[in-house]
């Protein structure tokens, strides 16, 4: 056993401690051992670990639950198909052995135990079994591929036919989807129709061929823009019988189940429950159920599609019309099924129309065929998956927060139902990242930040957290915590981002978060906006009225001309550039904000002295006016000191602005400090590109 392989696990079930110890000692070097002292314990262990146990060594004679009882329970849970059982018993009478094999026991090891023999037999059994699993997996894969190709061919061919009919390829896809959905509902609700998974797959496949007869209908009738005359309509109606005839005359495969369904569907998808359909005026259940379902699907699809003679109806309208009997009579059971899948239908048709790979649930077909051959491997896995999903959904429904699940390969996100109440966006969103489907709820920048943050997780550190401002359904903006973790898939040693789950919860507002709650930032530069800046600065002043502070305001000279010459996008870039420089030139506790198109406001609490003002502003300006991508620009600046030049925010602001305006009047590209009516004039050194 190489060190990189994981040790396999063996379950030993025997009521005598001695026997367990014997076996355990023999095997524990090479395997993980779990012991059970009786049948009940063994079953409990199996329930929790059935995926990881590679072999069971089972005694027969045990109190309360015998080994055979254990085997019976294993059969019920289908564990016996994937976990080999070896009987360890001193019972070696013929009948016991035979009985054992009936239960699917793989081998017998009798007492007394010989270490070497036990080890060998165990090893061999495990290897044999894992090879079998591998082979089954391979076969299944091949079957999947074959079925997938089949479905693809049918798709292509029927789409081509439909094109001639003036239909889009979408019609074929939708008919399949609707047929499949209705069949599923029918299968669950009305088992008397004896529909199983493979039938569903075949019928949906066959449904694609329902209008194949239209190939023989003359073009003038087929694509006539106006209403058909009585004679023309009679000719049109022949497409059902013609379709069936063509399939009848196939030289090969005419006995295949697929073709049989296709013939039924072709000929009778225009029959109606009350016998008023065509061509054979079949009534009620004389009409094969496959044809009945396709006719409902066909009617629905016709209603929601655009036609030369009508616009597309909405899903609701179409449902109404069908339920009111405006489109012919249908089997009441089908109507029940249709009503049941109402909401699901609408979503499913719009979603799945985009991804042909998902139209046809190929897995189900292969699985069904597999089952007929007696291999139920995937059944158990699917069952387990279903269990997990049910658990998850239940837990999710208990939460008052919005939960989400995102899949990287399909770029699709699923939200729990709460998202509709909270944010008013749908619970399934495709093209999520590609098209930023949360636009309107979250800012572009925040969205990108979030994506970056998620993408920077690793499988070792998969948890991420981000606080974001979101627009709720009531129009307000609130703070939310995004918390989640990414899941990774191992692709031959490389780890790939596979999916992501998490929660969006309202942010708790603590008293120390009051500031941040106020924070509303400018979207472009991520600096504070004016409102926030005012609040924060006012707060700073009132908290510590005795410390000197400095307010600086500056803007870009001739910004308008800059935009016109280089484009607004470029102007935006410069603003971002300036914002970054400003942030780099202030201390953590200082405030930097954007208060106008190209106007910025800075505030320094706790300034040391007046003498600081001039050198600082000079340095700041020099930093700000470094060339940006070969474009030269300059700023004008005004400054005012607290409390000398103003004792309230408003006063300070006014005076700083006046100072700025003075700079402008003086020819721009300079800095002015406010001083009553006699502004001290402080020209800058020339902006030196560095």
């Amino acid at each position: 056993m190489t060190s990189t392989e994981q040790k396999k696990t063996i379950l030993i079930v025997d009521d005598a401690e001695l026997n367990r110890a014997l076996l355990s000692d023999i095997l524990q070097e090479d395997y993980n051992i779990i012991e059970a002292a009786d049948g009940t314990e063994a079953i409990e262990i199996l329930k929790k670990n059935d995926a990881s146990i590679s072999l069971i060594l089972l005694d027969i004679l045990m109190p309360r639950m015998s080994g055979f009882d254990v085997l019976t329970i294993m059969q019920k849970n289908h564990w016996h198909e994937t976990i080999p059982v070896v009987i360890i018993s001193s019972e070696n009478s013929m009948e016991y052995i035979e009985k054992g094999y009936e239960y699917g026991v793989v081998d017998y090891i009798s007492r007394p135990f010989d270490s070497n023999i036990v080890l060998q037999r165990v090893k061999n059994t495990i290897i044999l079994y894992s090879k079998q699993k591998e082979l089954e997996g391979l076969v299944k894969e091949q079957m999947l591929e074959k079925e997938s190709n089949n479905a693809l061919m049918i798709n292509i061919l029927s789409t081509i036919v439909e094109f001639r009919n003036g239909e889009s390829g979408l019609h074929v896809i939708r008919i399949r989807i609707i047929t499949e959905i209705l069949l599923e509902a029918l299968r669950k609700r009305y088992p008397e129709y004896a529909i199983d998974e493979s039938h569903i797959a075949l019928i949906s496949n066959a449904a694609a061929l329902h209008d194949i007869g239209k190939i023989e209908i003359p073009e003038e009738i087929l694509n006539k823009p106006g209403k058909l005359t009585v004679e023309e309509f009679e000719i049109m109606k022949t497409h059902s019988a013609r379709g069936e005839q063509m399939l009848n005359e196939l030289r090969f495969g005419s006995d295949e189940e697929l073709v049989r369904y296709a013939r039924q569907i072709c000929r009778w998808h225009h029959e109606r429950w009350d016998g008023n359909g065509y061509p054979d005026h079949l009534k009620g259940d004389e009409i094969p159920i496959a044809a009945q379902i396709v006719s409902v699907a066909d009617v629905y699809d016709a209603l929601v599609s655009e036609r030369v003679y009508k616009p597309p109806y909405t899903h609701k309208q179409a449902m109404q019309m069908i339920l009111n009997g405006e489109c012919g009579m249908f089997n009441s059971k089908l109507i029940v099924c249709l009503t049941e899948v109402d909401t699901y239908l609408e979503t499913a048709v719009s979603l799945r129309s985009h991804d042909p790979a998902h139209i046809f649930n190929i897995n189900q077909l292969s699985q069904e065929l597999f089952q007929k051959k007696g291999v139920k491997l995937s059944d158990r896995t699917l069952f387990l998956l279903e269990q997990e999903r049910t658990k998850y959904q239940f837990i999710a429904s208990l939460s008052k927060d919005v939960l989400f699940e995102y899949d990287f390969s399909t770029d699709t996100v699923l939200f729990s139902e709460k998202c509709r109440e909270e944010f008013n966006f749908p619970s399934i969103i495709t093209d999520f990242v590609e098209k930023n489907r949360l636009y309107g709820v979250i800012s572009e920048k925040d969205f990108q930040d979030l994506i970056t943050r998620i993408e920077s997780t690793t499988s070792a550190a998969p948890v991420f957290q981000k606080r974001l401002l979101l627009s709720t359904i009531s129009g307000t903006q609130e703070w939310y915590e995004f918390i989640g973790r990414t899941l990774w898939a191992d692709n031959d040693g490389n780890e790939e981002l596979y999916s992501c789950v998490g929660r969006i919860a309202r942010s708790q507002s603590g008293s120390n978060l009051a500031m941040q709650e106020l924070a509303q930032r400018d979207a472009l530069t991520n600096l504070y906006n004016q409102g926030t800046a005012r609040k924060i600065i006012s707060q700073t002043i009132s908290t510590d009225p005795r410390t000197t502070g400095l307010m600086v305001m500056f803007d870009l000279d001739n910004f308008k001309k800059l935009n016109e010459r280089n484009g607004h996008l470029f102007g935006d870039q410069i603003l971002k550039h300036i914002a970054r420089i400003s942030e780099n030139n202030i201390r953590k506790k200082d405030i930097c904000s954007r208060i106008g198109g190209d106007r910025f406001l800075l505030y320094f609490g706790e300034l040391f002295s007046e003498e600081f003002v001039y050198p600082y502003c000079t340095t700041l300006t020099r930093a700000l006016t470094q060339k940006y991508k070969d474009s030269e620009y300059t700023v004008s600046m005004g400054a005012a000191l607290y409390p000398q030049d103003g004792t309230t925010y408003e006063e300070l602001f006014r005076h700083t602005k006046e100072a700025l305006e003075t700079s402008k009047r003086r020819g721009k590209n300079c800095f002015t400090r406010y001083r009553d009516a006699h502004s001290r004039q402080e020209p800058f050194p020339e902006a030196v590109p560095e």
Partner: protein, 117 residues
């Protein structure tokens, strides 16, 4: 007492055991477990209450353990009892026969126990 001697006293072949179980230390451990195994008590109780199914099971377990540890006398005694009970129903079973066979098992068990001290 040395294991080799122990086995010789029982008329058993130590070499066979060693070959099968590989390590002497393990054999010690197992022998101790054997002495302590509740099956002997279970068997005793079952004989007293004449619960034939339980008797069968307990004797069977003892037989298995004895086989594993290469203790032929004990194994034989246990096997004797299980075979007697195997093919007869509880109605036909003769409790005195059962008790007799049980005594043999008990003797062997005592022998082993004494040797282990």
């Amino acid at each position: 007492m040395e294991l080799k001697t122990f086995y010789e006293n029982l008329g058993a072949d130590y070499n066979i055991v060693l070959r099968r179980l590989l390590r002497e230390s393990l054999i010690y451990k197992y022998l101790n477990m054997l002495i302590k195994d509740p099956s002997f008590e279970t068997l005793q109780n079952a004989v007293e209450s004449e619960d034939f199914e339980e008797i069968f099971r307990a004797a069977h377990t003892i037989k298995g353990m004895a086989l594993n540890l290469e203790l032929p006398p004990l194994a034989a005694a246990a096997s004797d009892l299980t075979e007697y009970l195997r093919y007869i129903t509880s109605g036909e079973a003769d409790i005195s026969v059962v008790k007799e066979k049980y005594e043999k098992i008990r003797n062997e068990y005592e022998t082993v126990r004494k040797l282990m001290e």
